[in-house]
């Protein structure tokens, strides 16, 4: 029986920020029991719209109706009361708490904090096939499981509409499939799901309806059965859908990065002995891209940070173009020619409350043209920031805008532009295209390929297996801190990689 009132009806939503119009006359209907995808370029206004629907930000104009009733949402608590819940891309769980504690935190009034709460969690988990054990510690859970806890948290609070902002960016393909299975369960129970993604194939496979946002306004709502991802991309930006493909090999015989026997002991304490990195050795040559495949949390972050000199406990030897890095500080390593695109751009990549030009200088404080006699030449820094903004298509009102005001994808583009500047000899790229739209993704791949042709060595870490296979000259699989298999990207399928990553098979 079709319900006449849609679960969510947005009419004429508008929202402005200084110098930008984030939303302008947005109209969307989300029907009950459907998965509704929202796609659009970086900075199109998707996250802003979702924050409005979740009561985090107030719209300047327009109306919100939930289940036929017009509402005004001034806080997330309001939104929850009306049955709207949201899962942010940055999880908001306390690591050293159990699932149960995390879920009831702030919602103690609903089912208490004891047996009733545990029963309710189990009930929800079973009903939607989430497979969550209430008494596990969150820190022991993988990324996919943490995301399911976040979803459960939202459902526990009675959400009928669940918003997910780029939920698949951090997941490997198997986890994405599981997530989509869960979402289908939700919709079968009559809930509505709104989700944002830049991966158009995924969107087509799971969504019932797709709304395209361009420059802050809704340009079309389409039926996935009737469109291809190419047509979707054209609706979004008017450009074509790229596909990563390696051209002829540019690998030289000069070793740029030599890592031997790199180990990092695990957290201290009884029975916690498993090392985070266990005797890792590899070489990357000039002009070579080494891809690291692995489920998040298997030592990738530690590997990168050990090479950057951010992990004091690491042992083993690391040489960059013949120079021993072991005794060098992070700054000296950067000066020696390492570009570093961190996995968590908010924690490691940006000063969110500083203007873009200061963020351009960050990590390159000692570089020309702005570093002179211990001073920083602001004019030179601004000018070079302008260059990156133009070359990497960073959508911003200006270089004095605060980094916080940029959309996620545009922040990423700025970081990529910054780290590719100054002619690095080694680029450590953790998820370089996470959160950027298809057009920008193609552009970033292009930049990496150009630099590789000019002799750049790249250590590429990515959850996107197509990206790994498309860009890498060689792929190593990392599992529980160890390199467990080496693959030739021209002969491997995402499925084979996937099973090696979970330890289910593959070359050892």
């Amino acid at each position: 029986m079709p319900d006449v009132a849609p679960a969510v009806r947005l009419r004429g939503i508008g929202k402005r920020f200084p110098g930008v119009i984030a939303n302008d006359d947005i109209n969307i209907d989300v029907a009950r029991g459907t998965i509704h995808a929202i796609v659009g370029e970086n900075g199109a206004g998707k996250s802003t719209l979702m924050k409005i629907l979740y009561g985090v930000q107030a719209p300047d104009s327009g109306t919100i109706e939930i289940a036929g009733e017009q509402v005004s949402l001034s806080s997330p608590a309001d939104a929850i009361r009306h049955g709207v819940g949201m899962v942010f891309q940055h999880f908001q769980l306390a690591d050293n708490f159990t699932v149960l504690e995390n879920v009831v935190l702030g919602a103690e009034k609903l089912h208490g904090i004891g047996a009733a709460a545990r029963a309710e969690i189990t009930r929800i988990s079973d009903a939607y096939g989430l497979g969550i054990e209430p008494d596990r510690l969150v820190e022991d859970l993988g990324v996919g499981a943490r995301q399911r806890v976040e979803i459960l948290k939202v459902l526990y609070r009675g959400a009928k509409v669940v918003i997910l902002d780029e939920p698949t960016a951090v997941l490997v393909p198997q986890e994405v499939d599981e997530l989509f299975g869960n979402l289908r369960e939700l919709k079968a129970e009559g809930l509505s799901v709104i989700f944002i993604s830049h991966k158009l194939d995924e969107v087509l496979s799971v969504a019932d309806e797709i709304t395209v946002i361009r420059r802050g306004t809704t340009v079309a709502t389409v039926d996935p059965a009737g469109v291809t991802s190419r047509q979707l991309a054209e609706l979004m930006v008017g450009s074509e859908l790229p596909s990563p493909s390696t051209e002829s090999s540019t690998v030289t015989d000069r070793v740029t990065l030599h890592v031997a026997d790199l180990s990092l002991p695990g957290a201290e304490g009884p029975g916690q002995g498993r090392p985070l990195l266990d005797a890792i050795s590899f070489d990357i040559h000039a002009g070579e891209v080494l891809g690291i495949a692995g489920v998040e949390g298997n030592g990738q972050a530690e590997l990168v940070e050990a090479i950057m000199g951010m992990r004091p406990g690491a042992t083993g030897s690391i040489r960059l173009a013949g120079v021993d890095l072991d005794q060098l500080s992070t700054r000296r390593r950067r000066e020696a020619g390492i570009g570093y695109i961190p996995e968590d751009r908010h924690r490691h990549g940006l000063l969110l409350d500083a203007p873009l030009w200061e963020n351009r200088v960050l990590g390159h404080q000692t570089r020309k043209p702005w570093a002179r006699l211990g001073l920083i030449d602001r004019k030179a820094a601004r000018a070079d920031t302008e260059r990156i903004v133009a070359d990497y298509d960073v959508r911003t009102p200006g270089v004095d805008t605060l980094a916080r005001a940029l959309s996620g994808g545009n922040q990423q583009k700025l970081i990529v532009g910054r780290e590719m500047s100054g002619e690095p000899i080694l680029l450590i790229a953790a998820h370089p295209t996470r959160g950027v739209d298809v057009g920008a993704q193609a552009a970033i791949w292009g930049h990496i390929k150009d630099a590789r042709r000019a002799g750049l060595a790249v250590l590429l870490i990515s959850a996107d297996l197509d990206e790994l296979i498309g860009l890498s000259d060689r792929i190593e699989v990392i599992l529980r801190g160890r390199m467990v298999g080496s693959f030739d990207p021209s002969h491997v399928t995402p499925e084979q990689l996937g099973s090696a990553m979970t330890g289910a098979g593959g070359a050892v």
Binding site: F17, I21, D24, R347, L350, T366, L375, I376
Partner: protein, 365 residues
């Protein structure tokens, strides 16, 4: 169209003015509740100061300014240096001893004593810095502790080196020789001189601004204050920055006691003025860690202090009422900056909307 720079300046001034009005309002409420004569209190405090008072205000402001700067250095790195009090006590004592001994002649002696004061202040604050960097001890706790230790330590050493002042029970360090004092100047023909140290304070303010905003070191310091994780990833050694920032904060704090020492008392004695460090915290907050803002805050606090002196005699109200005003200012300033910021954002949004509307009409035509 209004000049956007004028609008920005106007907004910048609106925030502190709003804060002051609010603070006066709240203080008035307190006065009303206590049954004190509101009108008379304000007319006494807000009168135009006489020449004699102006010199006092400038002198007091000089001292408060240095204290505010010292605190602000820490604030820029998210370090809460509550120990300015102890640092300037140790520093002033060391400077008094060095200057009193007069190992060098004239101005060279002065310079040596000032350097010694900065070193002593830096060393005292550095203890907290090292504890924080190496052991993770909160600088809030350690600097408070160090304040107590400083009081005890200085009192102890003062007994060892002190000379009894003639005809009094007060003890103090040897007087600074005439040639090593910092001469003041008078405004009009008032009896009180303005400390010559005021120029050194202004210089300190300029150096603070320059180092923070123009140098790589200042960039690293501000970056660390904004995000330690991003700072580490960018190659900044956060432990080193923590120690260095505390050293600098302490060195500036070391100057706080000197205007009085070189311009008025010429020795460190039992009548030493303490408590300026806490006023510095309020002033740094009021001035938003900006060198000009801190100057305005210091002048304002000094003005209120000076003008409230005769309250007891003239209207029978305790001058402590301005301590309430000063405290309230710190709160209202935080609120009013936020209010004005939001208002500014709205203004800008309207401007954007108008531009958009104009674009559309053009497109239609």
């Amino acid at each position: 169209m209004k000049d956007p720079r004028l609008v920005k300046l106007g907004l910048g001034l609106a925030a502190p003015v709003l804060a002051l009005l609010l603070a006066f309002l709240i203080t008035s409420l307190v006065l009303v509740v206590a049954g004190d004569p509101v009108g008379e209190v304000w007319s006494t405090i807000l009168g135009v100061p006489e020449e004699r008072n102006i010199a006092n205000i400038l002198n007091n402001a000089t001292v408060l300014y240095l204290s505010g700067l010292a605190v602000a250095v820490g604030f820029r790195m998210n370090l809460f240096n509550i120990g300015v009090d102890g640092q300037y006590r140790v520093a002033a004592f060391v400077a008094a001893v060095v200057a009193g001994e007069a190992w060098l002649p004239g101005a060279a002696n002065t310079v040596l004593a000032i350097l010694a004061a900065m070193l002593a202040g830096a060393a005292w604050a550095g203890i907290a810095g090292v504890l924080r960097a190496r052991r993770g001890v909160s600088e809030v706790i350690s600097t408070i502790m160090l304040n107590f230790i400083a009081t005890g330590l200085v009192a102890y050493f003062l007994r060892r080196v002190a000379v009894r002042e003639e005809g009094s029970n007060d003890i103090g360090t040897k007087e600074i020789p005439e040639g090593s004092r910092i001469p003041g100047f008078s405004i009009g023909d008032g009896p009180t001189e303005v400390y010559g140290f005021i120029f050194l304070a202004a210089l300190a303010g300029f150096v603070y601004w320059f180092v923070l905003n123009r140098t790589r070191f200042g960039f690293d310091l501000r970056a660390t204050g904004r995000s330690t994780t991003a700072a580490v990833a960018s190659g900044i050694s956060v432990t080193k920055m923590t120690v260095v920032a505390m050293l600098i904060s302490g060195a500036v704090a070391g100057l706080v006691g000197l205007p009085l020492l070189f311009g008025d008392s010429y020795s460190y004695g039992s009548t030493f003025q303490s408590g300026l460090g806490f006023a510095g915290i309020a002033i740094a907050l009021l001035g938003r860690n900006h060198p000009i803002g801190i100057a305005i805050g210091a002048l304002l606090f000094a003005y209120l202090d000076e003008q409230s002196n005769p309250l007891q005699i003239l209207v029978g109200v305790s001058p402590d009422i301005v301590a309430i005003t000063q405290g309230v200012i710190v709160l209202t300033v935080v609120i009013s900056y936020e209010v004005v910021r939001r208002y500014g954002v709205r203004l800008e949004q309207h401007a954007v909307a108008r531009a958009l509307e104009a674009d559309r009409q053009e497109a239609r035509a």
